[in-house]
């Protein structure tokens, strides 16, 4: 029975000291501690939220970047294609110009060659004519050197004439 009989002294001191402890702890410990824990939890939560937002932003940026990259690649391809076309055009144009120029030159050369050929032929003709005249002269001179032969010839010619 002694064990389950609360003694008034202990009840009194426990009550007094517990209430003082409660007040002191409430003021000195629990308020600042709970506030600090609460603040820290909130700041951690904020940080996590911010991290989440930053991650979303990052992924958004990266998709944007990718799109930009894709666009740039397409543009580059386009530019390359255009450049190639331009090059081909220029080359073709150059080729054409060169061809016409060449053709012109060839034409000119042909005309020149022809002219030269004609000139050369004329000269050859003149040479041949003069040569023939010389030869004929020489032959005639030879023929008329001998009197008999001249007579024979004349008789021959006359014979022919008679026959006619």
């Amino acid at each position: 029975m002694e064990l389950v009989t609360p003694s008034i002294g202990l009840v009194f001191w426990t009550l007094v000291s517990f209430l003082i402890l409660l007040m002191l702890l409430k003021k000195l410990a629990w308020k600042p501690v709970l506030a600090a824990i609460h603040d820290r939890e909130r700041s951690i939560e904020d940080a996590l939220n911010k991290a989440e937002l930053a991650r979303a932003e990052m992924s958004r940026l990266s998709t944007e970047n990718e799109a930009l990259l894709k666009e740039a690649r397409v543009e580059r391809d386009q530019i390359l294609k255009e450049a190639k076309e331009l090059k081909d055009q220029i080359v073709a144009e150059a080729k054409n110009a060169a061809q016409t120029e060449g053709a012109k030159l060839i034409e000119k050369a042909k005309i020149e060659i022809n002219n030269q050929k004609i000139a050369a032929l004329d000269e050859v003709k003149n040479q041949v004519a003069s040569l023939s005249l010389e030869i004929a002269e020489k032959v005639l001179r030879k023929q008329f050197d001998d009197k008999q032969k001249q007579d024979a010839l004349v008789s021959d010619l006359l014979k022919d004439v008679k026959l006619n």
């Binding site: 202990l10 702890l25 000195l28 629990w30 824990i37």
Partner: protein, 368 residues
């Protein structure tokens, strides 16, 4: 980084708990030696008087779990504590050492106002005839700083030191991760908040956090100090019905002061046929008191039972009067101590949990 911190904490916690166990083991063997030595001395002293006196474990155990004027340390050494008495002849304050003679037996002491004698741990007034006068003694109100009160003060100083320094750490390290003592205490505070207060009380829990935390740490630290077998532990504070009564009275007052109209309506206008109302009133009003009463008995009985078992196991050595019993006793006592460490936490948890639950039913807003 965060994770590694947690791991570190667990590591620390397990190391510390092993250290604590070892500490208790050492203390325990000290305590046993002490009791053994004490008994030997008593046996030697009483040897020439009588050999017949047998060791009575009940007396020893009740002495150890009860309260006393003066704090027994070892052998014949004890710390005298102030005795404060309200008597019909006025307030009387003196040292508890005056109630004992040089042989440490209770002896009459005349303070000038009354003559006192310590009989069966109670201070009685001696009548003119030199005999205990029950009539005069009934007017004595004992507000002495007994062993339990002193232990209570020590525990309160310990609690204040711990938590004021922790609060200081919070102020110094704003927004940073907890460190040292702070990281020991913080998980428990969060446990009380998230697993005891919030689920039981609901959104109004913040108002009751100081009370719940104070109750939890007060009970837990006193339970742990009660397990330490030497000064400044060794007092059975939470195993004393007066202490548990005060705690549950505080709970009773807090619960009923915060009871809202639904709580009172549930008590006075329960949903029953009108002719049952008088019976329901009686039942409900008994319920109001029986809930804190159960808290009081539960804590008192659990802690006292633990102490009784440990002391009984140690007493086995003296009952069998052989040292061969010692290893068995030590093994069982060690087991009990480990269990008591668990019980110390568990009872603090249950008391706080049920307090939160009762507050929760009182502040709950529901519509029938």
């Amino acid at each position: 980084m965060y994770l590694s911190h947690i791991l570190n904490f667990k590591n620390l916690a397990s190391r510390a708990s092993i250290a604590l166990f070892l500490l208790f083991l050492t203390f325990n063997s000290f305590a046993m030696q002490e009791i053994e030595a004490e008994k030997t001395i008593i046996e030697i002293e009483e040897g020439h008087v009588s050999h017949d006196e047998k060791f009575d474990p009940t007396v020893t155990i009740l002495e150890h779990i009860g309260d006393s004027h003066g704090w027994h340390l070892w052998g014949h050494t004890s710390i005298p504590l102030p005795v404060i008495l309200f008597t019909p002849n006025g307030l009387d304050v003196f040292s508890s050492s005056r109630l004992f003679d040089e042989h440490h037996n209770p002896a009459p002491y005349n303070s000038g106002k009354n003559t006192y004698l310590l009989a069966e741990k109670h201070i009685k007034i001696l009548g003119a005839d030199g005999q205990v006068s029950e009539e005069l003694s009934s007017g004595v109100y004992d507000f002495s700083i007994t062993k339990n009160v002193a232990a209570l003060f020590i525990s309160i100083i310990v609690i204040l030191l711990i938590f004021v320094s922790v609060a200081g750490a919070y102020k110094k390290r704003v927004g940073k991760a907890p460190k040292g003592l702070q990281s020991w205490v913080e998980p428990i505070i969060i446990f009380v908040r998230d697993d005891i207060a919030r689920p039981n009380i609901g959104y109004k829990f913040e108002k009751f956090m100081p009370l719940l935390l104070t109750i939890f740490f007060f009970i837990w630290i006193n339970n742990l100090l009660g397990l330490v077998p030497i000064f400044p532990g060794s007092a059975n504070v939470t195993g004393n019905i007066a202490v548990t009564m005060v705690l549950s009275a505080v709970v009773l007052v807090v619960v009923n002061l915060n009871g809202n109209k639904y709580y009172w309506a549930h008590i006075f206008k329960p949903d029953v046929p009108f002719w049952l109302l008088p019976i329901m009133w009686i039942v409900e009003i008994i319920g109001v008191f029986s809930k804190p009463f159960a808290l009081m008995i539960r804590l008192f009985a659990n802690i006292t039972a633990g102490h009784i078992i440990v002391l009984s196991l140690i007493s086995l050595i003296f009952i069998f009067k052989t040292l061969a019993m010692a290893p068995v006793s030590v093994a069982f006592v060690l087991f009990m101590y480990v269990l008591e460490l668990l019980v110390a936490f568990l009872q603090a948890f249950i008391f706080t949990m049920l307090t939160a639950l009762f507050i929760g039913t009182a502040v709950e807003e529901h519509h029938h």
